[in-house]
């Protein structure tokens, strides 16, 4: 599913879907490429460093990435990412359920030369 974006930059939502879950102050967001052919681009675009760089005030702790290559899926575990978690956060979305779309809104990093 490819949709053109302003400045012709594609976003992760164009090639993948995602779902967020929470446990305490830790969020997990799984991201799945629709097409196997897009999985390498997804892996290149979404690294733990990229997520921390993109949202430093929110993703305050370590970020792990687990890979399920045979299913074209990535699982991000984001520690200290929910402003204290459901018991402490005053965010309307204290579970961070909407954060799947923070990731999906990121621009795809195409390979050099594309």
């Amino acid at each position: 599913m490819t949709t053109s974006r302003r400045n012709d930059r594609r976003i992760i939502r164009d090639i993948a879907h995602a779902r967020a879950g929470d446990k305490g102050n830790t969020s997990n967001i799984s991201v799945w490429a629709y097409e196997p052919a897009d999985y390498q681009v997804l892996k290149r675009s979404l690294t733990p460093e990229r997520l921390k760089r993109a949202f430093p005030q929110l993703f305050r702790g370590a970020v792990e990435r687990h890979e399920l290559d045979h299913l074209q899926g990535l699982n991000f575990v984001l520690h200290d990412a929910l402003e204290g978690g459901v018991n402490r956060s005053l965010n309307l979305d204290s579970h961070g359920k909407s954060f799947s779309y923070l990731i999906l809104g990121l621009e795809i990093e195409e390979a050099a030369g594309q």
Binding site: M1, T3, R13, H17, A18, R19, G21, D22, K23, G24, N25, T26, N28, S30, W32, Y34, F55, Q57, L58, E64, H66, L68, H70, L71, G73, N75, V77, E83, V86, N87, R88, L90, N91, L92, D93, S98, F99, L102, G105
Partner: protein, 448 residues
């Protein structure tokens, strides 16, 4: 113990505490199920239940239990479907007795109701117990304790199935265990068979959130479309003796079961896919196969497992004080500037005039709220809502905040409208680990 090699049909009748009733009834009436599971507890729900029980000793179980059972008990008896649930929450005994009374009222003589207790470990856990994934001990927390419940698994549920109970009610039964136990009972699986413990745990994990695998929480119009969401059906798992299963739904229900819906649920609330811990097993989902085998039929296979942990996780609940939330809306040209000015006024009043130190958050819905901390902001909206949230051990602090937001309608920027304010009591939960030997599940069977 019943043993069979034919496929076992299990359904979900609730994926959270306030889930819909009619699709559960449809599943029992039309799904030809051997068993149905109603999963109704979240991280904080048992703590809310303890609080309710402190106010009224006859309460503390799921508020919708009687309403659900009034319809489901006759249907389950008619179709021979066993029902398993954690709707007992903080008071399984009261839940079982309420069910008994209802069963008699409905003329369901002979209905066997199993009540599983023992997950309440408040008498067992010492105050100096350290928390699982943060510093500090139970004794360090200044808030009043409301209760402590261990996640218990198939070991606690199997005796109820062996006693041929029709309805099994517990408190903090681990979600996947409620699905694994009837599979073990039907197929005669051993608790030492870690591969099948992992496979059954996968089935439970996929099924425990109800519609989250049948197209619920999935639709993104134009990108991922789902038909019939207003009529979405609950899931059915057809499980084989080798541990593989087909996830499906009723043909005439809305929603969909696809490789995509299954994948999203596969890793929901999972961290390292190789190690998903439950009271029964350390499950390995990292090599699970997900294959479409027909319209709305997806087969899952190849889950594994290792020996179960020596410890059980306990949720410790505390009284968390009060949360106040209040808002006022602004629309038209300059709406954002007026909304931001209103936020500044409220913050100044709370901090400088009332000198409250409580946790305070001010968002502008329509401009920056859910993603505010992430730094995302939309500058174009002409329809915004100032949303203020405050948490404090003192109810009075929340009341002051509501008062200040309401007074914006006289003392704040031009054109504001739509004030609303609410105050909700809060709970705080933390986790500890205890040796599994310190938890002793207890079974009682009541007969209508």
């Amino acid at each position: 113990m019943a043993q069979s090699s034919r496929a076992f049909r299990i359904g979900t009748g609730a994926g959270f505490s306030s889930d819909r009733l009619q699709p559960a009834l449809d599943l029992v009436n039309k799904g030809k199920l051997d068993a149905i599971v109603l999963e109704c507890l979240g991280e904080r729900t048992v703590a809310f239940g303890h609080r309710d029980r402190m106010a009224n000793p006859a309460k503390g179980y799921n508020a919708y239990l009687e309403r659900r059972f009034r319809h489901l008990l006759p249907a389950c008896r008619e179709t021979g479907t066993r029902l398993i649930t954690n709707m007992g929450a903080a008071n399984p005994r009261a839940a079982a007795h309420a069910t008994l009374k209802l069963a008699r009222e409905l003329g369901l003589g002979g209905l066997k109701i199993a009540c599983i207790e023992g997950d309440d470990v408040s008498a067992v856990v010492p105050r100096h117990q350290a928390f699982m994934d943060e510093p500090g001990t139970i004794g360090d927390v200044e808030m009043p304790l409301v209760g402590m419940n261990a996640y218990i698994g198939t070991e606690a549920i199997l005796p109820a199935l062996q006693a041929e109970a029709d309805i099994v009610i517990g408190g903090r039964l681990a979600d996947p265990s409620m699905f694994l136990a009837p599979l073990m009972h039907h197929f005669g699986w051993s608790a030492q068979d870690t591969m099948r413990m992992g496979a059954g745990t996968l089935v439970g994990h996929l099924m425990e959130c109800g519609m989250q695998i049948t197209g619920g929480y999935y639709a993104d119009p134009g990108v991922k479309d789902v038909q019939g969401l207003a009529d979405c059906g609950f899931p059915i798992a057809e499980v084989e003796d080798d541990g593989s299963a087909v996830i499906t739904k009723l043909a005439d229900a809305g929603g969909c079961v696809t490789v995509g819906t299954v994948k999203e649920q596969l890793l929901y609330e999972v961290h390292d896919p190789r190690r998903y811990l439950t009271p029964d097993v350390v499950a390995d989902f990292s090599r699970v196969r997900v294959d479409n085998v027909g319209p709305n039929r997806v087969r899952v296979s190849n889950a594994g497992g290792q020996s179960r942990p020596d410890t059980l996780k306990v949720t410790v609940g505390f009284d968390g004080g009060f949360q106040g939330e209040a808002g006022v809306s602004y629309a038209g040209p300059g709406a954002q500037s007026r909304g931001r000015l209103a936020a500044d006024i409220v913050e100044a009043r709370i901090r400088k005039v009332h000198r409250l130190q409580a946790d305070l958050r001010l968002d502008l819905i329509g401009s920056s709220s859910l993603f505010a901390t992430a730094g995302q902001r939309c500058e174009e909206s002409q329809d915004v809502r100032l949303h203020v949230a405050l948490r404090s051990p003192e109810r009075e602090a929340a009341e002051i905040m509501l008062w200040e937001v309401e007074s914006l309608l006289c003392c704040g920027p031009a054109g504001g409208g739509g004030y609303r304010g609410t105050i909700t009591p809060c709970v705080m939960t933390k986790s500890v680990l205890i040796p599994r030997e310190s938890v002793k599940p207890k079974l009682e069977v009541l007969v209508a």
